[in-house]
């Protein structure tokens, strides 16, 4: 163990012990808290404490994943246990603090769960339906500690993995551990992380970049933002480890402009790491040096694609590059680069600390570790659940998520983001598994599960997904730019029941051309939502197309930024495209 780390450990322990000696109030005030009034609650907490002159520690933390009960007020008092209060409004803050902190009599009627010691009439945190079956690795500190507090992070075993790597292991040993753990990228493609790092490690260049991708434009997925708002240090530690294993010199965290809680907290955490010798020259007294910073990008979904991301980091339009050369050979500013998802990197510290066998023992044969599912839509308990791979969809949606809030039947799930597909109810027995889901035509993608009940039209939702894909197409290559527009035209007609007899065939042709002719995944997968809906809900789709649909579809207003200009989508487009050719799938790219 390095001397430097020993010092940090001692300080962390003494600070943690002190923290436990007086009341500690934690409240999630990130993006997710803000949306349900946590900023007003924290203001009230501070004013109550000031007016009563109480000696209490107040911490603004991130989301704990139990989004349905936010704002969550988490109060720990020596002698009166730790209790989490749900759906807290500014009005009851005074009462809760008076009862719990001053009178040591926690108001049970407002409590959501207790942690540690048991209380009569209060469920333990792990017994909440949403927590049953969770196994938290990447979300290990969610809602538990201050986001940029190094002492608190170390108290939760933080930086132990990094210390181990830097003092006892060579870079290739670290790489070997990641390889044998079976960790696969969590961004959607599910490529082996160890192999990916290996490509970069094999490049002898002096300057190399690790890019951490938190563009996360996927509607329905919010786990990357959640990790950065609640525990950015786990990402930073993972990024340094990736840097060490691949001999990289720089790390860039890439976040969408406007998501201020993740941005500010990651920036602050990086700053803290620099001042504690955890970033910069000779990390923890070792020979290894690594620089890190946050770069913002404008609103662009395609910026999440690895080569478009590099263009955006360079400050240009986020349009994908031709490959080869691949990023590991020619990346950002021409330096060899490696792009990782936030979740993937957040696993690395725990894999180092607990060993690759530990990680490989969790999950299924080919999908190791845990998956973070983001539940939203028609669901009783929206939020984040981290479960071992192999958990069934049914367990996640019906048990942990609580099913539809008004007791209606769930009709389908939309998975894998706007380029993903639909999963019908009779497929809910399926296990979470990259390969099993892919072979069923759905993607797990980055983990977004949008739950839709019986009142949702699959045709209407497909149109929204295609409208999204059309608007977000960067416009560089025509199969995607025109293909998404044509699909949207056709789906507009379908929603109104005015389809033309040739529309089904036309969609397939357009989809085929997008798949074969597009430069990046946006166009290649752009037909997925339609193909998946046609496969899963064939009769509903056809009925709707020809005016025999059961669910009324309302007028759809799309942003002006789309090609359609001011025209309100919902009116039958007058022009009908004629696609009289289809790319040959066996066609080979011309050699340059």
């Amino acid at each position: 163990m390095s001397e430097h780390f020993e010092k940090l450990l001692r300080r962390s322990k003494s600070n943690w012990d002190q923290l436990g000696q007086k009341p500690w109030i934690r409240l999630g005030t990130g993006l997710f808290g803000e949306a349900v009034g946590a900023l007003q609650v924290i203001e009230e907490v501070r004013s109550v404490i000031e007016s009563k002159n109480l000696d209490v520690t107040v911490s603004e933390v991130g989301t704990s994943g139990l989004c349905y009960a936010e704002p969550l007020l988490d109060i720990q008092v020596p002698g009166a246990g730790r209790i989490i209060y749900g759906n807290v409004q500014p009005d009851n803050v005074g009462y809760i603090i008076e009862q719990h902190v001053e009178k040591l009599k926690p108001p049970k009627e407002l409590a959501l769960a207790c942690v540690g010691s048991d209380w009569d009439g209060i469920l333990r945190l792990e017994d909440l339906p949403m927590m049953q079956g969770q196994f938290r690795i990447a979300l290990r500190n969610a809602g538990e500690i201050e986001p940029a507090n190094i002492d608190q992070y170390i108290a939760m075993n933080g930086f132990a993995g990094l210390n181990l790597a830097l003092t006892d292991m060579t870079p290739s040993e670290v790489l070997e551990i990641i390889k044998s753990s079976g960790l696969r990228g969590r961004g959607g493609a599910a490529f082996s992380t160890g192999m990916k790092w290996g490509f970069l490690a094999g490049n002898p260049a002096e300057t190399k970049y690790i890019l951490c991708n938190c563009e996360e434009g996927d509607p329905g997925a919010f786990n990357d933002k959640a990790i950065l708002e609640t525990d950015p240090l786990s990402l930073i530690e993972g990024c340094i480890l990736a840097g060490y294993a691949t001999n990289a010199t720089n790390g860039i965290v890439f976040i969408r402009h406007g998501h201020w809680a993740p941005i500010d907290r990651t920036r602050k955490a990086i700053e803290e790491c620099y001042s504690e010798g955890l970033l910069g020259q000779n990390i923890l007294g070792s020979e290894f040096s690594f620089e890190m910073e946050v770069v913002l990008v404008g609103e662009s979904y395609v910026a999440g694609e690895e080569t478009a991301l590099m263009e955006a980091v360079e400050g240009k339009r986020s349009m994908p590059r031709f490959r080869p050369p691949f990023p590991a050979a020619y990346g950002v500013w021409g330096f060899p680069s490696n792009i990782n998802n936030i979740k993937t990197l957040a696993y690395a510290p725990e894999i180092l600390r607990n060993g690759s066998d530990w990680f490989a023992s969790i999950g299924t044969e080919k999908s190791k570790g845990t998956a973070i599912a983001c539940l939203s839509g028609h669901i009783k308990f929206p939020g984040l659940v981290e479960v071992p791979f192999g958990t069934t969809i049914n367990d996640i949606v019906q048990h942990m998520g609580g099913g539809d809030p008004s007791g209606k039947d769930i009709k389908f799930l939309q998975t894998g983001g706007p380029l993903g597909g639909l999963l019908s109810r009779d497929q809910f027995g399926m296990q979470l598994d990259f390969d099993e889901m892919a072979s069923a035509g759905a993607m797990f993608g980055s983990g977004g599960l949008i739950v839709c009940n019986q009142d949702t039209s699959s045709v209407d939702l497909t149109r929204v997904l295609i409208a999204f894909d059309q608007m977000e197409s960067c416009g560089k290559c025509f199969p995607c730019r025109l293909g998404t527009s044509h699909l949207l035209d056709i789906l507009d007609r379908a929603c109104l029941g005015n389809s033309l007899p040739e529309d089904l065939e036309l969609m397939e042709k357009v989809g085929q051309n997008m798949k074969i002719g597009s430069l990046c995944g946006h166009g290649q997968l752009g037909y997925n939502p339609v193909a998946s809906a046609l496969k899963t809900f064939a009769s509903e789709f056809k009925n709707q197309m020809f005016g025999k649909g059961d669910i009324e579809i309302k007028k759809f207003i799309a942003p002006l930024h789309t090609r359609r200009g001011a025209q309100v989508l919902g009116e039958t487009p007058t022009s009908v495209v004629n696609v009289d050719f289809v790319f040959d799938p066996k066609m080979e790219a011309p050699t340059l």
């Binding site: 990008v297 240009k316 939203s376 939702l461 942003p559």
Partner: protein, 162 residues
């Protein structure tokens, strides 16, 4: 209250200079100006091209690509409604339609008195709390028509009082 071209230029220059990061690019400078001024006047685009030694065409190219940027003065209050699939499933279109009716708009745009602007956002990022709306960049989740109209009215009232 229109700001003079020289003052705009000065403000833009300050915004470009006050980026506390290592990586300064066309995009980062444009975002910084947009945050400080609320829009990108043509003076700012010129300043960015000077500061990062780029051509004005290149700067325009980036600025017109991302929907973050606007090229006219912003309205006094801005409302963004999320139209992503989760919010859609939870009734974002109804919400949007009633807001448009209330403001007398057909689609995204601004009221004639420039008090309010309405924009559609592809994903505000708080799916578990959908439908989501942001009022002057402050997020509000679990939005209903009634709540949205009440907040909008109070925004207008506060602005008129000033």
């Amino acid at each position: 209250m229109t700001t003079s071209p020289n003052a705009l230029r000065e403000n833009a220059r300050n915004a470009i200079a006050s980026q506390p990061f290592k990586t300064i690019t066309v995009l980062s400078s444009l975002l910084s100006v947009q945050d400080a001024l609320g829009w990108l006047p043509s003076e700012a685009l010129e300043e960015v091209s000077i500061a990062v030694s780029s051509t004005i065409n290149e700067v325009w190219g980036v600025a017109s690509f991302y929907p973050n940027f606007r090229f006219t003065e912003p309205p006094r209050n801005s409302i963004e409604i999320c139209w992503g699939p989760t919010c859609h499933v939870l009734g974002a279109q109804d919400l949007l339609q009633s807001m448009l009716n209330e403001l007398g708009l057909e689609n995204e745009g601004e009221t004639q008195d420039k008090l309010l602007g309405l924009k559609l956002n592809t994903c505000l990022g708080v799916c578990p709390h959908g439908p989501a709306v942001s009022f002057n960049h402050r997020l509000e989740g679990k939005m209903t028509k009634e709540k949205a109209l009440a907040i909008t009215k109070s925004l207008v009232k506060d602005t008129q009082d000033v």
